[in-house]
Symmetry: C2
Subunit: 181 residues, 2 copies
């Protein structure tokens, strides 16, 4: 089990229009897998409202921050940084170190789309590969956070939810009661 | 370690244009995390060529099949089916059963986008939730396959690759030698 004071996901390489849906998926994945906040570009405005709608319905806390330039935002971050990249070192080997150094502290997790600048590779505390194959920043983020937390996914509690899904073998069961702690 | 005779991913709910990039991510994630094949709609033609390009460069085997109606394609599948849905039973509880029943055999993994019909819930052998939160079919597929295989991600060998990434702490290292078995 990994507990940070704050885990923030930073979305680099967003191309307006083209990446709106993938950036939304990055944000929803960050929330579902235990991050506290996501930083997205100013341009990704429909993404912000989708994520905030989901958080209002299914609970939080989770917040969305928009930055004019997420790379510059990252330059002001003084705590450890994980940069997820297909060129990085194996996630299965890096997780113990990351856990040890970041437990109780703050952690930034950077995901890119296409071309991430050399500066980000250099600023990162760890460049981590979730496989060394080209696939998806959404997949990489999900598997990284899953392995970082290393616990039962269902144990996470979302506060203030208007809707809670009841796991079901064959249908859709949702309660609209508010589930508190 | 899980070995199937064949693991096929079926992408339902693709909306032409809007979902082209997410369907591509689903396909690349399927390949990177050990599936053998993906079935996508006829409409997703740029997705097909992107996945085939990646397979040619980074190795396989992995194939792409286009179906006029993936739901109908699924109706002709007689082997076990995992349907990934936020309404399903916890992945962490279902994986041992799925492994036991599918090792050495064939397995279909169904991911949807938006609305998946009731029939699919009923046809599925297992409706599996990768968390019971709304996030991303790409994230769900990645975490499901990662947990199903439960092995070091870097152990997977891709045959016939023109390019192989060498894991690196801070840069991009790629060899263009063909790496065989």
């Amino acid at each position: 089990m990994f507990e940070s004071d704050e885990t923030v996901v930073i979305r680099l390489g967003h191309r307006p229009g083209r990446d709106e849906r993938t950036t939304t998926h990055v944000g929803l994945t960050a929330r579902a897998f235990g991050a506290d906040r996501i930083v997205i570009p100013e341009a990704a405005s429909s993404t912000r409202s989708t994520i905030e709608d989901v958080t209002a319905r299914f609970g939080g806390p989770f917040s969305v921050e928009q930055a004019g330039d997420p790379v510059q935002w990252l330059a002001g971050w003084d705590d450890p940084i994980v940069h997820l990249t297909m060129y990085g070192l194996p996630v299965e080997e890096m997780v113990p170190d990351i856990r040890a150094q970041c437990a109780g502290g703050r952690l930034a997790v950077v995901v890119g789309g296409g071309k991430v600048s050399r500066d980000v590779f250099e600023q990162a505390t760890w460049n981590v590969g979730v496989t060394n194959q080209p696939h998806s920043e959404i997949a990489a983020l999900a598997v990284f956070l899953d392995r970082l937390h290393g616990t039962d996914l269902g144990d996470r509690v979302f506060e203030g939810a208007e809707e809670v899904v009841i796991p079901s073998a064959s249908g859709k069961r949702v309660t609209s009661e508010t589930e508190g702690e």
